[in-house]
Amino acid sequence: MTAETATEKEPVEKETFLNVFLRNLWSSNSVTVTALSIVLAVIIGAVLIVVSDSAVLAKFSYFTARPGDALDASWTLISSAYADLVKGALGDPQAFSDWMSGAGTWQNAFAPLSETLTYAAPLVFTGLAVSLAFRGGLFNIGAQGQAVLGCVAAGVAGFTFGLPIVLNLIVALIAGALGGALWGFLPGLLKARTGAHEVITTIMLNYTAGLFLAWLVIQQGIQQPGRSDAISKVVAESAQLPSFGGVLRVHLGIVLAVLTTAGVAWLLNRSAFGFELRAVGSNPHAARTAGISVAKTYTLLMAIAGALAGLGGATQVLGTAYALTPSVAGNIGFDGLLVALLGRNRPWGTLLAALLFGALRAGGNRMQSFTGISLELVTVLQALIVIFIAAPALVKAIFRLRAARAAGLGVSPAKG
């Protein structure tokens, strides 16, 4: 008899750094933390705006002599930059009053909002793909690859079948979902069968998907006839997501996104499978003991998450891009990770986070053209928000592990 079998089984599981970090990440991320992170990011963004403008910076060289100049210029720059950000995301009051007085059109007034929703739609899907998987205890880094496969499948279906209106769109969307589902199912199956960690496999499949797309768009039958660059045929009009047209790019995708969010919320909280995946995500041992098949749950969950990301890719192709290019999916999969984090892994939270990211992106475009501040600032803002949310968890994880090591004996102070 060895010491291991003889002594009582230690109830606390050995935790890896990643586990501690991730758990802290989701648990410490309260609404307050999220809101404060956004405020902090905006403040630091303001500093960056000033620092990156050489004209304003020059006024700081005689700051001691005439501080008013520098402060005035800084304030003007910051306020106009953020004002443009808001105008570009939600709408310009000027455009609204023009519309009322008849000088402008309603389309122009609603164009900024339309841009926000256009950018947000695919992010809702990829965000849901990440947050749903996480509720089941899986870290789906593969939303990018799944979205790319969704683009490919939806795009190819969109210009190949030539089905009648409505039906063609439905088939293309389903194709996109299936493409993503396949790319999620593979790592899910590997995890269930062999225990291969989904972080590794999904990252690798991201590359595979990206390279496959780059290869595919220059193949005969896919590439647009008469073009030498990497672009595919255009999706049939009957397969495109209907939009208002003109400056209003917003399309049916955002409506689908809201419906899907509701569906995911139902799946999580009201369905038998949602119960299974939450049980497996919180305590796989207890789930197994209660007769839930952990392997089956992982596989199905990754397939569903993949399908969601695939739909995100499909809305991108069928609603905005209309043709495949190597970069058609942009960064929507990776942004989905951030959106899920910001949305605290809850379906409606994810929707709101996607809208915020969409708004930042849309506003950033106007900020770039009107105030001359690089679009990269928006990326910096997004990154800062995420860093502020993630940092407390990171710090806690580091200190918790160190404290546990220092105690050495594994003594839990709360115990008897």
Binding site: T2, A3, N283, A287, R288, T289, G291, V411, G416
Partner: protein, 523 residues
């Protein structure tokens, strides 16, 4: 793990050690784990610290051993206030501790383990390990205190009782005068327990004092010179060893409790569970269950007694389809369960309380209501393959909370916020709330307060009286004897004998140590 004493030859203290804890207070957030604790341990006495799980005993001892620092109060050794920043300080002051979970390296020899942390070297700090010196120290200490240990044996080859002896010898080589024993009998057979008590007695005769932490009343009465009872972080009384067990239990729990399991005679019917020639491996692929035959009849409780780690866990997991059956059959009313999924086994009328509640029994983040249907969520009336019926689930929760007296703020509270006893009631309520043919409970009252133990035992007997076949696995012999109508003693993966609960404890104890009627089996 003991930290090294100050280098140089161990000094011997002339004065025996007198320890006083004055007003020790320790808080964790809002929780007051220790509330102004005053205890005096006189030289040469066995001072028992009696209390339920979570009463604050271990927290107190961890402060005494320098693992935690008190928020208020002081530790006084021989009238001199001391501050212990680490176990090293405590050992230097003459205080040693043997933890509930042994801190030994399984692949090291006894001598190596004892030297570990205070290695003697030749030729400076980076010189050779002085193994000869280490062996000599072990032999001397073990002779001096009458604690036989083989310095060259590997720890992993030793039975638990001997490993514990190694821990005690290790503490004694550090020349301590006060020894803290944290739940030392939890892993011992009754015989090993008796041996330990004898060792404790002889140590006190040599002037050492012992703080004995336990929740077992029988042992306290057998060995303690003085008893301090702790409840919810406070001292609720001191008692002498001639206080009755019922009185001690009442002090511990705060109300009168019945320690006996009240039950009528069993009325066994058909054989419900039939296990034949069962062979199961543990996680490391080592044979854990080695040809077990047993039968549980409807309307009876079969208890499996045995020291933990003799294959009971693997046996039950194999029956539940959680572990692969290597050979043999598991029959439920003639139907072979081997190879069936856990879900199907549960659905065929088997209730299962796993031994490790927080690991396998509950999902702590889930609400009480959700945990109450953890294995029935996709069955009518709670739902089907697709959807859950939230209102039925909530209604069920309210019913069970009342019926099983689950103390919770609401059925929507996360189970992790409940006490151990109430978490266990959630598991038991869940498993008993459907018609059963077989009910399996592994360690049904581990880490459960005395008050809840009484309730859980009543429920188990009630289930039996309804004609369910009940299999109870417990490493607490009292529990098995109290509940079972027949007792199967398990040792090293086999059932050594099936005996009646009227069998003398000593005889069952010998069986648990692998000794069958004069035919001694050496470990």
């Amino acid at each position: 793990m003991l930290d090294p004493p100050p280098p140089g030859p161990a000094e011997t203290r002339e004065i025996p050690l007198k320890l006083e804890l004055r007003g020790i207070t320790k808080r964790f957030g809002d929780l007051v784990a220790n509330d102004h604790i005053d205890i005096t341990v006189e030289p040469g006495e066995v001072h028992a610290l009696l209390g339920e799980n979570g009463a604050g005993k271990s927290t107190l001892m961890n402060q005494l051993y320098g693992l935690l620092q008190p928020d208020e109060g002081e530790i006084v050794v021989n009238d001199e206030p001391k501050v212990f920043r680490s176990p090293r300080d405590a050992i230097a002051a003459g205080i040693g501790m043997v933890h509930q979970h042994f801190m030994l390296v399984p692949v090291f020899t006894v001598a190596e383990n004892i030297a570990l942390g205070a290695e003697e070297t030749r030729g400076g700090p980076l010189g050779w390990l002085d193994r000869r010196r280490a062996r000599k120290d072990v032999i001397e200490t073990s002779k001096k205190f009458g604690l036989p240990v083989d310095p060259d044996a590997l720890i992993e080859d030793l039975p638990v009782g001997a490993q514990q002896r190694v821990e005690i010898v290790k503490a004694l080589t550090r020349d301590v005068d006060l020894l803290i024993l944290d739940e030392p009998t939890a892993v011992l057979t009754p015989q090993e327990t008796d041996e330990l008590l004898a060792v404790m007695r002889s140590l006190t005769e040599m002037g050492k004092s012992i703080v004995f932490i336990t929740h077992k009343l029988r042992e306290v009465k057998a060995i303690a010179d003085r008893i301090t009872v702790v409840r919810r972080g406070r001292i609720v009384g001191t008692a002498s060893p001639d206080t009755s067990e019922d009185e001690l239990a009442a002090l511990m729990v705060g109300r009168a409790v019945s320690l006996e399991v009240e039950k009528g005679p069993a009325d066994p019917g058909r054989a419900v569970l039939q296990v034949a020639g069962l062979v199961v491996d543990d996680d490391r692929g080592i044979r854990a269950v080695d040809g077990v035959d047993l039968e549980v009849r409807a309307g009876e409780v079969l208890g499996i007694a045995g020291v933990q780690g003799n294959g009971q866990t693997e046996l039950v997991e194999a029956i539940m389809g959680l572990r692969e059956v290597r050979a043999g059959t598991v029959g439920l009313d003639g139907e072979d369960l081997a190879g069936m999924s856990t879900k199907k086994i549960l659905r065929s009328g088997v209730g299962y309380v796993p031994e490790d509640r927080s690991h396998d029994g509950v999902v702590k983040e889930f609400s009480v209501a959700e945990n109450l249907i953890l294995d029935m969520y996709d069955r009518e009336p709670f739902g089907n393959a697709f959807r859950l019926d939230i209102s039925k689930i909530a209604g069920n929760a309210q019913e069970r909370v009342d019926q099983f007296d689950i103390r919770t703020q609401s059925a929507e509270s996360a189970v992790g916020t409940l006490s151990g006893g109430n978490q266990q009631k959630v598991v038991i309520a869940r498993e008993m709330s459907r018609p059963l043919r077989l009910f399996i409970a592994s360690q049904p009252t581990r880490g459960v307060d005395v008050g809840s133990i009484e309730f859980i035992h009543k429920q188990i007997v009630h289930e039996r009286d309804q004609g369910t076949a009940v299999l109870v696995v417990s490493s607490e012999l009292d529990e098995v004897v109290g509940l079972a109508d027949r007792i199967a003693v398990m040792y090293r993966g086999r059932i050594l004998a099936v005996v009646s609960p009227d069998t003398p404890r000593e005889e069952i104890g010998l069986l648990m140590a692998g000794i069958t009627g004069g035919n001694e089996e050496k470990k």
